[in-house]
């Protein structure tokens, strides 16, 4: 019969362990001993063993074999055993434990014990553990203790009842009136617990009302009863404030701050959306706000709660001014905790105001007392918080800044946001970029700034930006004037040169721009930044570049190891376009170099690169009027360009040239509609009918041939396959549309989702691309062509049939 260890000895032993393995060994050994003791029903050491189990449980070891022991202990008549038994139950058991039910009887007995400590133990356990069945069973007993002679039991009973009511919400109405009497209690312990009970009951009540579908929650019997108590609560609070020095409850010179905070919380719940209640509490809130000491944390805690209550209830304007001023003072406090709390509250208030007020924040029209105007006043402080070393504060400040942005300060604030972007951790960057995009969408003062900001953002965080940002940048650039386009392209080229190949977004957008607007690069560019308040005017200028340098830059990007597939694909397109742009402007050496660069990928391992390479090669040849090499395979003539050997017709040449011409401008409204649909509509569901509808609409107009509405299926790769199926009309099955349609903008634009699959088939079956089959576009060709071009909104009238397929790049990549 081994002497069992005392808990102390076990702790000492575990402490002495040098390694985790040693600790596990010690615990395992002791665990085994305890299990043996339990099996042998050694009553003597039950108390000690359970104590040891609690210790082992805290360390994280399994202790479920001890659960029944706890139950045996609580049935013991000896106080220390009971005590440890109940503690064991509270720590080792969860409310899901099956054995918990077995305790109900013991609990009932102990609740009725004469010894108040025993009753207290039972109440404590019920308060922490009761299940809904136990609650229903024991509630009447708990209720008796609400009227117990000693406050010791009353306060415990309050919270035990709170638990019972949370578990059995339907019992709420029965116990509402108990609260009324308890509020008059003298003991602060009882007061704080009964106020918390009220809070819990109110929340349960709201939940009940929601479940039963009651619209107006102000009419529930519970709430009506509690609303009648508002004056009593107000009186209680007032007494606390005017209480003289009472050593029992004061903390830092303030009497019972905990109780004050709890009362304010309950007042908030009662005063929300209730004019009458809010009026009743007006004075006392003002009193708290003005008289509370701010030098100690306790005082600030009360003020914090008070501000929240003022903001949430229907308080008078003067009160709101007070609250806002308090928040303003908090923001300037040196204590980080207080600033954090202020930022948090401001963000919440502004958020709520936005939702209820509905309108976007306009500082000028806003009520001077609102959180919004306070926010504007403290703008510099908030911006400073963005640079705080504490990350919690930085994040809160970030939230607030989004709310702060308006037409006047957008430039400054965006600059701050971009500064922050440089320093902020990777995980948060994507989110910030998305938000900056939204800011740019809504508040840009002019095109140049917009494009500028987006490019800067891509330079800083191109890697983390989503494709939305990239697409948006491209759209904005393409919609701008030629001047801005030139600026953008110059800027992008410079950025790419300076970049080390990591900013993927920048590369994608940049290479696209260079391809599209490469001709602008051959001219120098400069513009003047107008003089501002404290800065003289300055000029930003870019040198002109020669074609070779441009090609060099793009080539350098593709040569890097780290260059991803998509960038290489895009650069092929870029080279093809540059061939066209520089056709008359660059030296022949560069032009042939471009052609070579394209041909280089003819044997590439990547199917896509190979495809583009071959097709662009053929396209360039067609544009130059070069027919397939004499004696070459008929198969080399991908597009059936040459009907007679050695001759390429003029129409074909012009068709090829148009294929490479500038992309038409996207209709922004269509884009936004599409984006909205992508966000709300189910992917696939919303998209299909819509495109059909608007397609017909466009047909009716006859214009908007290049209604590129389906192009920017950003973020909805599934939309691409939908689009493909819609247009296929029976022609080759879409196959698995790669998500690349998401990334490859141009694939989207020309909805080549239809075509690559066709192209993948042996070259001869280039059904949809048979445009060049005959010198003249005959009508029969048109219908065949229309299928893939369905996207562009219409079976265009025959007269236009010629131009529709031509201007669209059927190669789609």
């Amino acid at each position: 019969f081994k002497m069992s260890m005392k808990l102390r000895d076990l702790i000492r032993k575990v402490r002495a362990c040098k390694t985790a393995a040693e600790e596990r060994a010690v615990i395992a050994k002791e665990s085994a001993m305890i299990r043996t003791a339990i099996r042998e029903e050694q009553e003597h050491y039950r108390h000690r063993n359970v104590a040891k189990l609690l210790f082992m449980h805290m360390l994280g070891y399994p202790t479920h074999f001890g659960q029944l022991e706890c139950l045996k202990l609580i049935a013991s008549p000896h106080f220390p055993e009971k005590r440890i038994g109940y503690l064991g139950m509270m720590l080792l058991l969860s409310e899901q434990a099956d054995v918990l039910m077995l305790a109900t009887n013991s609990l009932k007995n102990d609740l009725n014990a004469k010894n108040k400590f025993v009753a207290g133990l039972a109440l404590c356990t019920i308060g922490n553990l009761a299940t809904s069945d136990m609650s229903r069973d024991l509630a009447p007993e708990v209720d008796k203790h609400l009227k117990a002679p000693t406050p010791y039991l009353r306060k415990k009973a309050c919270l035990a009842m709170a638990r019972c009511l949370t578990k059995c919400p339907d019992m709420v109405d029965d116990f509402v009136d108990r609260v009324v009497t308890l509020l008059k209690d003298k003991s602060h312990g009882v007061l704080i617990t009964v106020v918390q009970l009220m809070t819990v009951v109110l929340l349960v009540d709201v939940q009940n009302a929601e479940e039963e579908g009651i619209e107006d929650i102000t009419e529930t019997p519970c709430r009506v009863a509690f609303l009648r108590l508002v004056p009593a609560l107000v009186k209680l609070l007032r007494n606390l404030l005017s209480m003289g020095y009472s050593p029992e409850h004061e903390v830092g010179g303030i009497s019972d701050p905990f109780l004050q905070v709890q009362i304010l919380t309950v007042l908030r719940l009662l005063g929300t959306n209730n004019e009458e209640a809010s009026e009743e509490m007006n004075d006392v809130l003002a009193q708290v706000a003005t008289n509370t000491e701010t030098s100690k944390n306790a005082g600030n805690a009360i003020l914090y709660e008070c501000v929240q209550t003022i903001m949430a209830t229907e308080s008078e304007d003067s009160l709101r001014v007070l609250a806002v001023n308090i928040l303003g003072r908090f923001l300037l406090n040196r204590d980080n905790n207080i600033r954090y709390v202020a930022l948090n509250t401001l963000a919440r208030c502004v958020e709520e105001q936005k939702h209820s007020g509905g309108s976007v924040l306009v500082a000028s029209g806003e009520n001077a007392n609102s959180a919004a105007s306070a926010l504007q006043r403290h703008r510099t402080t908030v911006v400073d918080c963005l640079k705080d070393p504490d990350i919690s504060i930085r994040q809160r400040a970030l939230e607030l800044i989004y709310h702060l942005v308006n037409q006047e300060n957008v430039e400054d604030l965006t600059a701050e946001l971009l500064n922050y972007l440089v320093l902020c951790p990777r995980e948060h960057r994507a989110d910030i970029c998305a938000r900056v995009l939204r800011v740019v969408d809504t508040y840009s003062p002019d095109d140049r700034w917009r494009v500028d900001t987006l490019i800067t953002m891509l330079t800083i965080a191109g890697r983390e930006t989503s494709t939305d940002v990239q697409y948006a940048t491209i759209v904005y650039i393409s919609r701008s004037s030629e001047d801005i386009q030139a600026y953008a392209t110059h800027k992008l080229l410079k950025a790419i040169r300076d970049d080390d190949g990591t900013q993927l977004g920048l590369l994608e957008v940049g290479i696209w721009c260079i391809g599209e607007f490469g001709d602008f690069l051959l001219n120098p560019y400069s513009y003047e930044i107008p003089a501002k308040l404290d800065e003289p005017s300055s000029t930003v200028s870019f040198m002109q570049l020669d074609a070779a340098t441009v090609v060099d830059t793009v080539e350098a990007v593709t040569k890097r190891h780290s260059c991803p597939q998509t960038v290489k694909e895009r650069s092929l397109t870029c080279f093809a376009k540059l061939s066209d742009r520089y056709a008359d402007k660059a030296d022949p050496a560069t032009l042939s170099r471009l052609h070579e660069l394209i041909k280089k990928n003819q044997d590439s391992h990547s199917l896509e690169l190979q495809l583009r390479s071959c097709e662009y090669d053929a396209l360039l040849n067609a544009a130059k009027g070069i027919s397939t090499p004499a004696g070459g395979n008929k198969d080399d003539d991908i597009f059936g360009v040459t009907t007679e050997p050695g001759v390429v017709s003029a129409q074909v040449i012009s068709a090829a040239k148009e294929a490479l011409a500038r992309m038409p401008v996207v209709d922004l409204k269509v884009l936004q509609r599409k984006q909205a649909a992508a966000h709300f509509g189910e992917i696939g569901m919303g998209v299909v009918p819509r495109t059909n509808g608007t397609a017909n609409g466009a047909a009716a107009k006859g214009g908007d041939l290049l209604d590129l509405e389906d192009i920017f299926s950003s973020g909805a790769p599934a939309a691409a396959p939908v689009v493909a199926t819609e247009t296929q009309n029976g022609s080759s099955a879409p196959a698995a549309q790669p998500a690349k349609s998401d990334v490859d903008l141009l694939a989207d634009i020309f909805s080549a989702s239809a075509l690559p699959s066709q192209a993948a088939a042996p070259p001869t079956s280039m059904g949809g691309v048979d445009l060049f089959a005959a010198p003249a576009l005959s009508q029969p060709a048109a219908p065949a062509v229309i299928n893939p071009m369905d996207l562009f909104g219409s079976p265009p009238p025959p007269a236009l049939a010629a131009s529709v397929p031509l201007s669209a790049d059927p190669f789609g990549s």
């Binding site: 602060h188 312990g189 617990t193 944390n297």
Partner: protein
């Protein structure tokens, strides 16, 4: 309401843990180590509040021990309305109470008198809500119960 209350030392060893919301053992271990790591990585100048997996965490360091409280919205509430500054005060009151009880509390006291510390805590917090903040109202019953236990134990022996 309070979801959990931890006392963890700087080496990451938990000296006391009290959960008012049942979490599985594996999750507890993970939670405790994550949170203490976060607390340790913060400097004195940073604020005492963190967010961790939906919990609003308030912590404070006293000598070698971190007192960590995790809060969640009340049942039925959607937003966590817990007053962080108030919780800081409460942690301080708890430490002062323990200090008075032990006559200058230190980590070893908590380690070797684990049950008594739990009893003390149970007098102040029940089911995640505050029961009593007045030190004497907490310590008097503790004292009486100790005496009763002592008597009973002697009889028992």
């Amino acid at each position: 309401m309070i979801s959990f209350l931890l006392m963890v030392n700087k080496q990451g060893q938990t000296r006391l843990s009290s959960y008012y919301e049942w979490i599985s053992m594996a999750e507890r271990v993970a939670l405790e180590s994550e949170i203490i790591r976060k607390c340790l990585s913060r400097s004195e100048l940073q604020c005492s509040f963190l967010e961790y997996r939906g919990y609003k965490v308030i912590y404070r360091r006293y000598a070698s021990l971190f007192f960590i409280v995790g809060t969640k919205p009340d049942a039925g509430g959607e937003e966590n309305q817990e007053n962080e500054l108030g919780m800081l005060e409460f942690i301080h009151t708890l430490v002062e109470t323990m200090d008075k009880w032990a006559g200058s509390i230190c980590e070893l006291d908590i380690m070797y008198q684990l049950e008594q510390v739990h009893f003390l805590l149970d007098e102040m917090v029940m089911n995640g809500y505050i029961v009593e903040t007045n030190k004497s109202n907490v310590l008097r019953p503790i004292d009486l119960m100790e005496r009763e236990s002592y008597k009973a134990e002697n009889m028992f022996r």
